[in-house]
């Protein structure tokens, strides 16, 4: 069958790969922009996610807290009595009180005290899903035993399991290490029993930071929350761990300027990429202006020429993204290793960068294509 096939010759691709040196330089340019965007988005997400890291570790259906505790680092406590009220419901399987505070842990080598995030809960319970913690919780039945984060930033010296650890001037025993991770506000985390915690802060104040509620199987969480809501005073918030996480992230984004900083960084990366891509396409078009004008003289429409340039732009984006992705992962790995802050690269976030890269190149294509459309076929003669 005779058909008019405007895609028979992959002109855009041929033009792109014809000059290897130029292609390599072009890919470097795009890769550079992709890396900038990866870093900024990585920092942005790494910051938000690591700030909210703790919320993802709550192992319960609902978490109770004082309504003023709007984020993880607000210290307003709640009456322990509220937990007893919640426990009275037959739907509730278990209620675990959790305490938190900031203690000073001494570096074994320098002797300096470092501020450390502290969590505490009753022995033989485990309100968290922290890697390596479940096996260690029986140790907490002993007084003066604490657990420490193996992924804490490297500022505590050489802490060894079974040896003593200085917390707020008390010499305690390091019972074991769990894997949690640091963030921008907490360098490390120490976990202890409720009793040890109260000993450190000087007595039981009948107050708790959070209450982790586990419901019996088959109980509708939403319906029970309503029931609990009606029973408890308005000063108590009842959230799922997922709600805590999104609240934490939106708080961080709203309140912490870093989100804005990295957001602007991302935009700058995008703009730099657009400029680089435009420059590449501009050179490509300038070098082939007579050829493009010739195509016009031959009867090709402006739409076809526009298509060639935009195709080339999109291809440039795809070709430049691949090494950018590899480089991005490498840099993430290096940064995680150096800072202990997890960058939380996910396929979805890589996809965001990919889409941004293609948009970036196609935008540059749209700017550059004007030159092609203006190419006057009468000038070829």
């Amino acid at each position: 069958m005779k058909v008019r096939n405007y895609l028979r010759v992959p002109l855009a691709w041929q033009m792109l790969v014809h000059k290897k040196k130029r292609l390599a330089l072009s890919i470097c340019g795009i890769t550079f922009a992709v890396l900038i965007m990866f870093m900024q988005l990585g920092f942005f997400n790494g910051f938000n996610d690591s700030q909210a890291l703790m919320t993802t570790k709550f192992a319960g259906d609902l978490v109770l807290m004082d309504v003023r505790r709007a984020h993880l680092n607000r210290w307003t406590n709640m009456q322990q009595m509220r937990l007893a009220q919640a426990a009275a419901f037959e739907e509730v399987a278990q209620v675990i009180p959790v305490l938190n505070g900031n203690f000073n842990v001494r570096n074994t080598e320098t002797g300096q005290y470092r501020r450390t995030y502290a969590l505490a809960f009753p022995p033989n319970t485990n309100p968290f899903e922290i890697e390596g913690l479940a096996e260690l919780t029986p140790l907490l039945t002993r007084r003066n035993v604490v657990l420490f984060d193996s992924l804490a930033r490297d500022i505590y010296g050489d802490l060894k399991v079974g040896q003593s650890i200085d917390v707020n001037g008390h010499l305690l025993e390091l019972g074991g290490l769990f894997n949690l991770g640091a963030n921008f506000t907490n360098d490390g985390t120490v976990i202890m029993s409720e009793a040890t915690f109260n000993m450190m802060v000087g007595g039981d104040r009948n107050q708790v930071s959070w209450g982790v509620l586990r419901l019996k199987s088959g109980v509708d969480v939403e319906r029970f929350r309503q029931k609990l809501r009606d029973a408890l005073p308005i000063g108590v918030s009842i959230l799922t761990p997922e709600e805590m996480r999104s609240r934490e992230i939106s708080y961080t984004m709203r309140k912490a300027p870093v989100g804005v900083i990295f957001g602007i960084g991302l935009i700058i990366g995008f703009v730099i990429g657009t400029i680089i891509c435009y420059q590449i396409l501009f050179n490509e078009i300038t070098d082939h202006l007579t050829q493009f004008a010739t195509l016009k003289a031959m009867g090709f429409s402006a739409g076809y020429l526009r298509g060639v340039v935009l195709q080339e732009a999109a291809l440039l984006g795809v070709v430049g993204f691949i090494p950018g992705l590899g480089g991005g992962y490498l840099l993430y790995w290096l940064l995680e290793d150096m800072t202990g802050i997890v960058m939380f690269q996910t396929p979805g976030r890589a996809l965001i960068i990919f889409v941004l890269t293609v948009i970036m190149c196609v935008m540059a294509g749209f700017i550059a294509v004007k030159r092609v459309v203006k190419a006057d076929p009468a000038d070829v003669f």
Binding site: K2, R4, M15, H18
Partner: protein, 403 residues
């Protein structure tokens, strides 16, 4: 005393079948040797009628084309010459639909070009094969891909997409260079690829601007010969703008432009035939060949219907005539008022020279007896040609006046 030498009415007819364009003129059944005639149903590929063109606006407005008239026919190779800035290229871009027509009428392949929308111009362009001074090939495409790129403009089968490029490149002598990119081809080979690109869609019209400018003598000739061969095979019209004298011989017609005017439109074959005809006339027997060639290009065609009078006895003569096709009767008014038929003349014969040489009134009346085409030369030019040979004039006088 006759107005014509006795020998000239008998022209040999053997040359009539030598050219495929030699088709008998309507009615006459006869045309002078070497002349061509187009079939009646043939439509011109390009008709340029009173085309004016201007560059710039208001104060800087400058006219570059003036009232141009030109008609090109299928199968013709037309070479356009003229100094740079004479408007050749402007005319070419107008014909190719690369510029919009401002004034006058321009018909290309049966389509009126004035006032066409851009998309319609694209349609016309896709029916035209363009060959440029520079090859303008994409350095990233092989010859094969270049052909396919051009083919994208028209519907083809998958099979044709694969085979036609190879066939075309083979015809161009590039069968061993099918998958080479321009960087691995010589200048001549690149230009041949560019020609292939122009010809692959078998356009009815090919426009070439200095196609040989970037080539050495041999490659230039090859390229033009190829163009001629392929174009004749496809029956296309080819218009070549060039300064290259080496390729003039392939032309069927040579159009000369000066300062935006078409100053000469010479049908090469026609003028060659005219030249031969003139050379066979006694009056020009000893005139230099160059002068004959020059004169033959200047002769204008005039058409007379049956019964129309060409020369009136007693008038003062100012033109010399050669019969291109048709028949005329030469009659002389007798003192008694009756008219006597002196002779019947047919194609290849000439008349009217006597009055010019002798500066005397016409000695007889000449009337067309059927639709007749005459080639006409002005008196001054005629005398110039004749007087270069004073012996000839003397002989003529002797022959005619017996002195």
């Amino acid at each position: 005393m006759s107005d014509l030498p006795p020998s000239s009415s008998q022209q040999p007819e053997s040359g009539q079948t030598a050219t495929p364009f030699l088709i008998a003129a309507e009615g006459s059944g006869k045309i002078a040797a070497g002349f061509k005639e187009r079939p009646k149903e043939m439509k011109p590929s390009i008709v340029i009628d009173k085309v004016n063109h201007y560059y710039g606006t208001a104060d800087t407005r400058k006219q570059v084309l003036f009232e141009n008239q030109l008609t090109l026919w299928p199968g013709e190779i037309v070479i356009m010459t003229g100094p740079s800035g004479s408007g050749k290229t402007t005319l070419l871009t107008l014909i190719g639909g690369l510029r919009s027509v401002q004034e006058g009428n321009l018909q290309v392949l049966g389509k009126e070009m004035k006032g066409l929308a851009p998309s319609e111009l694209e349609g016309v362009r896709s029916k035209v094969g363009f060959i440029f001074q520079a090859h303008n090939l994409f350095d990233s495409l092989t010859g094969y891909q270049t052909m396919q790129l051009a083919m994208q403009l028209h519907p083809y089968t998958d099979e044709e997409f694969k085979t036609l490029p190879i066939e075309m490149l083979s015809e161009l002598g590039l069968d061993d260079r099918v998958h080479y990119k321009p960087e691995n081809l010589s200048g001549g080979q690149r230009q041949r690829v560019a020609i292939g690109r122009a010809l692959i869609n078998k356009p009815q019209l090919i426009l070439a601007d200095e196609p040989t400018a970037a080539l050495d003598k041999d490659s230039g000739r090859n390229v033009v010969k190829l163009l001629q061969k392929l174009a004749k095979e496809h029956g296309s019209t080819i218009l070549i703008v060039t300064h290259d004298n080496r390729i003039l011989d392939v032309a069927d017609r040579i159009v000369n432009m000066v300062d935006g005017h078409v100053v000469a439109d010479v049908d090469v074959q026609e003028s060659l035939a005219v030249g031969e005809l003139l050379q066979s006339c006694d009056v020009f027997k000893d005139s230099p060949a160059q002068l004959i060639a020059a004169i033959s290009k200047e002769m204008k065609r005039e058409h007379f219907e049956a019964g129309q009078e060409i020369i009136q006895q007693g008038d003062s003569g100012d033109k010399f005539y050669v019969i291109r096709s048709g028949h005329v009767d030469v009659t002389k008014q007798q003192p008694d008022g009756s008219s006597k038929l002196l002779v019947k003349l047919t194609s290849g014969a000439y008349f009217g020279e006597l009055a010019l040489i002798d500066d005397a009134p016409r000695a007889a009346t000449v009337t067309a007896t059927e639709p007749t085409e005459l080639l006409v030369l002005g008196k001054e030019r005629f005398l110039e040609a004749v007087e270069t040979n004073s012996d000839m004039v003397k002989q003529l006088r002797k022959a005619y006046f017996g002195s």
